[in-house]
């Protein structure tokens, strides 16, 4: 069995499971954000009407809001807090960070865990050797909350094998975006995508997260990296809880394999209207932008903040561009403070925002007017995702976002990297 099959077998009390089997598995962690928690809470209290069996396994992170801009949204947050109090659930309030990073950094994710969330990017947690997947509000309200369980169809596995060395100015985010274009949106629907090969082995867990993040956009049920010593050391930074690591058997088979030599890749840009519309940056260089953002599920990591600071050294944000910097967590902001990055980035003309999900869906910030154009490290670019459907969103690695913020137009970071 592979890692995912082993986790699902253990969590459902079976010796073995195979692709296609339906299992009812014990859930270790349920992650919700401020929008989904509200919707889920209403289903639980109005339709299901049962108590939450393991409230300590549930967390709510207010990441779409850092300070609600309307009475309506203030009430949503107020109701979330009251719901959490009624059921004994922990809330990470405004300014805590992006839900998945908050969950990781507070010890809610470990190798071998079953992690579900009412957020489609929950498969991020496969980078930590967990089984992570997004499921709907009714799954949570009808099964996870009252019984601590969820149903899953065991997915067939495909492997993405990455080899080669990145060219200067090219990083894991570029490879991840390239893969969305290669596999295609909906190209791996219901699959478990394993990321492996020398590039993945050498990658930090923070970079591995960028691969498991993109799994959802090709339709996969989950993405994962077979856990190694690096995984364990990373998780041990955040929790001392005991866990048993589950790894692939040596003889696991894959339905299909995708091979990429990352050395052949230029920086990649996902262009409107969808995340699968991926092009080498050279094809869109010079496209004027009005907004740039480091933040969101796919950015706002300490690595991204460091990259931004490095590229802004001795340069300024272009006067026509609003550069928004949104750390993924309070930890990232604290580290950036210690390293002097907060000041240097601020002095280069960027705006710092509280830790959170940033302009994701323009819930609390970052709405665009018709004709405006943003380049960001966010994870989605559908028309209307951030304000006007006539605005355009481009997605790229932190280096490309930083270079573009300096130029006032989409720029090739390789020209700035020395």
């Amino acid at each position: 069995m592979n890692m995912v099959e082993k986790i699902l077998a253990r969590a459902s009390g079976q010796r073995e499971v195979a692709p296609g089997d339906v299992v009812v598995a014990d859930v270790d962690t349920l992650i919700m954000h401020d929008l989904s928690a509200y919707l889920t809470g209403r289903v639980l209290e109005n339709e299901v009407r049962k108590p939450i069996r393991y409230p300590e396994r549930v967390l709510i992170v207010f990441d779409h809001h850092f300070s609600p801009a309307s009475e309506e949204r203030a009430k949503i947050l107020q109701e979330n807090r009251a719901f959490a109090r009624r059921h004994g659930i922990r809330v990470f309030d405004c300014g805590s960070g992006n839900l998945h990073h908050v969950a990781i950094q507070h010890g809610y994710v470990w190798p071998g865990a079953v992690v579900v969330g009412s957020d489609s990017h929950t498969n991020i947690h496969g980078a930590l050797g967990a089984f992570g997947t997004g499921i709907g509000n009714n799954s949570h309200a009808a099964m996870v909350m009252p019984y601590g369980k969820a149903w899953f169809r065991v997915p067939a596995a495909q492997r993405v094998w990455l080899e080669g060395d990145y060219a200067p100015g090219v990083s894991a985010r570029d490879a991840a975006q390239y893969l969305v274009g290669l596999i295609g949106e909906g190209g791996a629907v219901y699959k478990a995508l394993e990321f492996a090969g020398p590039v993945v082995e050498a990658a930090s867990v923070s970079d591995r997260i960028l691969f498991t993040l993109m799994a959802v956009d090709v339709g996969a049920k989950t993405g994962y990296v077979d856990p190694d010593e690096k995984t364990v050391a990373y998780v041990r930074q955040w929790t001392d809880r005991p866990f048993e690591v589950l790894r692939n058997d040596p003889d696991v088979a894959y339905e299909r394999e995708w091979r990429v030599d990352v050395g052949t890749l230029a920086p990649q840009v996902a262009c409107p209207p969808t995340i699968g519309n991926v092009h080498p940056v050279t094809e869109v260089v010079g496209t004027p932008i009005t907004h740039a953002e480091i933040g969101g599920h796919g950015g706002g990591r300490l690595d991204d903040v460091r990259t931004l600071a490095r590229l802004l050294e001795g340069r300024r944000v272009h006067p026509d561009v609003r550069l928004q910097v949104v750390p993924n967590s309070r930890w990232v902001f604290e580290q950036a403070l210690k390293e002097g990055l907060v000041e240097s980035i601020y002095r280069a003309g960027a705006n710092w925002f509280p830790a959170g999900a940033g302009s994701n869906q323009a819930t609390n910030m970052g709405a665009l007017a018709p004709g405006e154009r943003m380049i960001s490290t966010q994870a989605r670019n559908f028309p209307g995702r951030n304000g006007s459907p006539e605005a355009e969103i481009y997605l790229a690695a932190a280096a490309t976002v930083a270079a573009s913020a300096v130029k006032g137009a989409i720029a090739d970071p390789r020209e700035l990297v020395t």
Binding site: V22, L35, E72, G136, N138, G186, R380
Partner: protein, 163 residues
Amino acid sequence: MQLRGRVWKFGDDVPTDAIVPEKNLFKSFDEMATQVLATLNPVFAREVQRGDLLVAGKHFGCSSGRAVAVKALAATGIGGVVAETFARTFYRNAFEIGLPILECPGITAFADDGDVLRVDVATGEVVNESRGQTIQAPPPPAFLLEMLQAGGIIPFSERLAGG
């Protein structure tokens, strides 16, 4: 489980953001239903009739896994959705809230706006009455059909969790 209705056709990779945009997330389902898919087809929400069927391309309901997208679609009165493939969260949510859907490879070429389709969700048989043609899709897994017949995961959950 038989459906019969007039077709509204949509393309590939329709995201849940287009079914229910974030700004409508906290409205009532009836309000959401009046703006469903408005950016892709402004006429749909206004003119959709009870029992009409939505036909779509691959990866329908991708992006956010919000179950309200399925609930808002159901609130328009449509009988169900037939697509080449669904995003897995949409697929799961549909069975969980009791909206009949069928994954049917080839459906895009098989049906056009305004055609009348008859769909047997349990057997996977799809008949285009306007064209007099039949296409066969793989039937959904038995346990999902049971969930659908039970009326969704809320009535079905005790049985699942106990099993």
